[in-house]
């Protein structure tokens, strides 16, 4: 069973291990076309429904609402993507795939970095699909190319940050079902109780307080400022968003890694 001779492999390389595992995770999309639907068609459906159902009522016209709502829809779509991270990690543990990786002489961190890299690709894909489609519907980047680029970068960063709490949930939860429960309980209110779909000034006082304290609001406001330009503020929400992201990383990166190491 061993006719193929191979030059003895050197020390396993973190970068090449990461790329191999990222490739593996992305190949899963091919095996589960519903993931592709989730990443492409679902957010577009959301976009179309929100813009044309509520647009007239909220902003006077669908076109005006599209300008307002796109940053929020983008951030919401990207916040839901790391669900797949949580579910996939949970399944990998249950099936013994993580055991297989851990028993191989490879860079151990590659299992996580490969996951994050693959998620980065998925998030970027989702961002490009949604913004591309919105532009067909008439969305205009009023903040210029630099603003557009900055917004894409910010939303991508937010998605990658959200991978960590979701990874923590995926590793901690006992079953994919409880991953689903916990994930929805957190992500759904977090993205709706924000400035994504309506101006917070129109909300009751108690909700305004929640919305303003919500990190998703900061990210959406910053993305909105970057995409639409003045008079929408950029500096303040962007600073808040960056502080929030740093805080979330500071909490959940170590938590997820500790859980990952301990889980057997």
């Amino acid at each position: 069973m061993s006719a193929v001779t191979v030059a003895p492999a050197g020390r396993p390389h973190v970068v090449s291990n990461t790329l191999t595992i990222a490739r593996r995770n992305l190949l899963h999309i091919k095996a589960t076309p519903e993931q592709l639907v989730e990443m492409s068609i679902q957010p577009i459906m959301f976009l179309v429904l929100f813009v044309y159902v509520f647009g007239g009522a909220i902003a006077g016209s669908s076109a005006a609402y599209l300008q307002f709502a796109l940053p929020g829809i983008l951030v919401q779509a990207v916040s839901f993507l790391p669900f797949t991270t949580a579910l996939a990690l949970n399944t990998d543990f249950q099936r013994g795939v993580i055991d297989r990786f851990r028993s191989l002489p490879i860079a151990r961190s590659a299992v996580i970095s490969g996951r994050i890299l693959a998620d980065g690709v998925r998030i970027l894909w989702c961002i490009l699909i949604i913004t591309g489609f919105s532009m067909i519907l008439g969305f205009r980047f009023e903040g210029g190319a630099a603003g557009a680029f900055g917004a894409v970068l910010l939303v991508l960063a937010w998605g990658l940050v959200m991978c960590w709490p979701m990874a923590f949930i995926g590793i901690t939860a006992r079953s994919p079902e409880s991953v689903n429960t916990w994930g929805f309980m957190i992500i759904l209110p977090l993205t709706f109780a924000s400035s994504a779909f309506a101006n917070p000034d129109t909300m009751p006082g108690w909700l305004q307080a929640i919305v303003k304290a919500n990190p998703v609001t900061s990210v959406i406001d910053a993305a909105r400022g970057l995409m639409l330009g003045p008079p929408n503020p950029v500096a303040e929400p962007l600073t808040d968003a960056i502080i929030w992201m740093a805080a979330l990383l500071a909490i959940f990166v170590p938590l997820a890694i500790i859980r990952y190491r301990r889980r057997i």
Binding site: M1, T20, R23, G96, D99, L104, P105, A110, I264
Partner: protein, 334 residues
Amino acid sequence: MTRDGMTRSAIEAEGLVRTFGKVRALDGIDLVAREGTVFGLLGPNGAGKTTAIRVLSTLLRPDAGRAVVGGYDVVREPAKVRGLIGLTGQYAAVDELLSGQDNLYMIGRLLGWKKADARARAAELLAAFDLSDAATTYVKQYSGGMRRRLDLAASLVGRPRLLYLDEPTTGLDPRSRLELWGMIRTLVAEGTTVLLTTQYLEEADRLADEIVVIDHGKVIAAGTPQQLKMRIGGQVLQAQPADPADLVATEKILASFGDAENRPHNDGQLISIRINDRAALGQAVRQLDDAGIVVDDLSLRRPSLDEVFLAVTGHVAEEDELGEETTTDERRTA
């Protein structure tokens, strides 16, 4: 691998302890597996077999004790150990959402091989394990036997000197089981050392050169299958009365050859008891005759590993298809 008439050991473990909460999954295990042999770790569910494998494959740190695999300490040099071993878990640890070919290719790449080498090795293993036709099929569409074969192939990509097989045939149909046994024999013939855990006594009997029986995290018997069978006292005397109504009387007669520790076993047709004295057969013939019991079968035979197991653990081997360690652990702590 003999060297100056001495056989080197591939695995040496001393006093391994690992606890999970209150459960002592490993409670001072010692074992030595010689290179180029099949070493069987036999025990019921929850005995600590999987925990032992996990410690020996660097997936779990022992709380106490020492284990050396291929000359490397599992705690101090885990990366070196990982370079020597292949692990096939209780559950087929292959990626369902990749094809068989992609699974093997991925491992080759993870081991740092060039694309062409990884591809060639994948094709070679797929052919060896009769999976070439399913090379590009997603593993989720594989049958149980195919998954197990792919799992074994996956653990062999890096040509490990040591192969850990954790209950490799649990849940397989008899034909797939025989096929897998054949493959394991081939690997051993090529020089691989195999550490096999199983709850199937027959499997240990057929494959293993040496067996350690563990229960509740402790080694309770060790030796070759032959030695273990000898150990529990020479032979088994069994009698099958022609008339089932005589079962009780037969059991009473055979009981006179045992004692409080060694009672006859009644399976509803056959009565059997372990004996040390060869004269027992003659005495049994006379006593059964005197009692007017006609027997269809009265014979002496070597004990099976099942009986060894019963004798050393005090309970019969459980044939639980789930094979989950935790279920028994939970039962025990409850």
